[in-house]
């Protein structure tokens, strides 16, 4: 089976000499729902920008459904739909015109373009706004407009750079449902997001990128299994003055006086309560500290940062 996207040895040095990508390798299988995660400035938009011809690469290979962007650019582009991070439509044009014009750029005749625009504007709840100039849409509507525009030529690979930034919870959920539906019908989807909950809910495979390097590229399942440690937050009946010592479980107090307990995978929670019982501490409620993926993510990025400083010091 061909991969929807293959990236090999991709590097990018911007005009000012900044090395945004330092050799990226990525493979995304056809039909996958893939997340590219990373902190601000990690190189996500740069990577996706190169795939969509918005950024010139410095070195490396990009193939979309087997079409090399150096030699078969137009075939690669026909298979690709893009939702960029920043709004990039003409603010004065009407919603319907924006979508049909985009179809025209792909060589789709107006009649067919109009039918396709109607289909996606309806699916994304923008049909009533079709004659509205884009500048008069709300932020969430603008995002959906960009999705409709990216789909109008029915690409096999859809790339979304933070599609749900600035979108309220309800709309976010409905966008998730929409994307899941697209994916079920066969569209390969790659997205970047800062909401790890989003990646956890939607994606099958995940790559973590930081400082222009891929730190991890694996299935979400494998990634979550790696998470060997989980932090629980316990609210106690009486506020504690100091963190109690629990046999085998590191503890600390958080800013609000709640008790944080670290539990290794396989350790089990029962023992935590036995220990607390022994100390006479009564627990009123309990929750996990953060989204699990988030915890893993933060740890990886922190480790990477520590390593980078070490290398810098080593070099000095």
């Amino acid at each position: 089976m061909t991969n929807a996207l293959e990236i090999e040895g991709l590097t990018k040095t911007y005009g000012d000499g900044f090395k945004a990508l330092k050799g990226i390798d990525l493979h995304v299988a056809e039909g996958d729902f893939f997340a590219l995660l990373g902190p601000n400035g990690a190189g996500k938009s740069t990577t996706l920008g190169i795939v969509c011809s918005l950024v010139n690469k410095t070195a490396g290979k990009v193939r979309v459904f087997g079409y090399d962007t150096d030699t078969h650019l137009s075939d690669a582009k026909l298979n690709l739909g893009v939702v960029p991070q920043e709004f990039n439509f003409n603010q004065f044009e009407k919603v319907f015109d924006i979508v049909t014009t985009q179809a025209g750029y792909y060589g789709i005749p107006l009649k067919q373009a109009s039918a396709s625009a109607e289909k996606y504007l309806k699916k994304l709840g923008l049909w009533e706004k079709r004659d509205t100039p884009a500048r008069m849409l709300s932020g969430g509507m603008k995002r959906r407009l960009m999705i409709a525009r990216a789909l109008v030529h029915e690409p096999k690979l859809l790339i979304l750079d933070e599609p749900t930034a600035g979108v309220d919870i309800e709309l976010r959920r409905s966008m998730w449902t929409f994307l899941e539906e697209m994916n079920r019908q066969g569209t390969t989807i790659i997205l970047t997001t800062h909401y790890l909950e989003e990646a956890e809910a939607l994606c099958r495979n995940i790559a973590i990128i930081d400082h222009g390097k891929i730190l991890k590229n694996t299935s979400k399942k494998a990634l979550l299994q790696q998470l060997s440690l989980e932090t629980f937050v316990l609210d106690t009946e009486k506020t504690l003055d100091a963190a109690p010592e629990l046999n085998g479980f590191p503890t600390r107090l958080d800013g609000e006086g709640a008790l944080e307990v670290e539990v290794q995978k396989g350790q089990g929670l029962n023992q935590v309560f036995v220990e607390l019982e022994r100390l006479g501490i009564k627990v009123v409620s309990m929750r996990t500290k953060a989204n699990r993926l988030e915890e893993l993510f933060i740890r990886m990025v922190e480790e990477n940062a520590a390593e980078s400083t070490q290398t810098v010091e080593g070099a000095a």
Binding site: L54, K77, N88, F89, N90, Q91, F92, Y106, G107
Partner: protein, 257 residues
């Protein structure tokens, strides 16, 4: 892309360009109509009657071809430079960059859009001039060819200007400091016979002089220069600018990081 698909992409760009300048007609179509009507009244009627003949024609008839050409030049240039620069500025140029439209089709689309406005204005100004004078046409093919090619040439110029521009000021420098002076000194209002020998020579280095005179030849049958020389010159300029514009698009200068 198949030839049909290429044509669809091309006409999509042209239609969008035409939609843009007709949507903002009060900024694009109205001003030249007003300005040129003032020129006709003041230079043609009021002052022109005192000037007498120029190049063997009454002054009004003499300046009409020049004024039509002047508005065609200005509008063709202005359309492409402002449309393409604002696409860059709003980043909606990315809509084209992600699509499979080849660069030459992008360029052809913008140039045709600029020509649509330039020639549209030319037509409006011609119709307005009929309220002041009678127009006879001496050589229709020469007239049509000159005005079409000149319009294409300045649309190309506007495109290159927009590619190079990084801020809004950059798109008014060339029109104000280059195009306007060259047009005024390009024989719109006078025949260079009136000038002393030295300044005649200098004027011959002004490309716009050739275009104005070529067009005037098509209408009146008089010209300061050989109209075929001016056609040839416009063609050479078009090839050079088209080559430069395509190279810039290929490199993505100012539009791709």
């Amino acid at each position: 892309m198949t030839p049909q698909a290429l044509f669809t992409a091309f006409s999509t760009i042209v239609v969008r360009e035409i939609r843009r300048f007709t949507r903002i007609w009060a900024q694009t179509l109205l001003p030249p109509a007003v300005t040129m009507t003032l020129y006709f009244i003041i230079f043609g009627n009021l002052i022109g009657s005192r000037i007498g003949e120029m190049g063997g024609f009454e002054y009004m008839s003499f300046i009409v071809p020049g004024l039509i050409m002047m508005s065609v030049i200005t509008s063709s240039y202005a359309n492409v430079v402002s449309s393409f620069f604002s696409m860059k500025f709003q980043r909606s140029i990315e809509e084209l960059l992600v699509s499979p439209v080849p660069n030459w089709v992008i360029l052809a689309g913008y140039v045709t859009g600029g020509m649509a406005r330039g020639l549209g204005i030319g037509l409006i100004v011609t119709l307005l001039s009929l309220a002041f004078t009678r127009l006879s046409i001496h050589n229709l093919p020469m007239m049509v060819l000159t005005v079409f090619l000149t319009s294409a040439l300045f649309a190309l110029g506007g495109f290159i200007n927009a590619m190079l521009a990084t801020k809004f000021d950059d798109i008014s420098i060339v029109p104000t400091f280059v195009l306007t002076p060259l047009t005024y000194l390009g024989g719109v209002f006078y025949s260079i016979d009136l000038l002393p020998g030295f300044w005649q020579g200098v004027s011959m280095a002004n490309p716009i002089l050739y275009m104005v005179n070529g067009f005037r030849y098509g209408i009146l049958g008089v010209s300061d220069v050989n109209p075929f020389v001016s056609l040839g010159m416009i063609l050479v300029f078009i090839s050079v600018l088209a080559f430069i514009a395509l190279r810039m698009l290929e490199r993505g200068k100012g539009i791709r990081h």
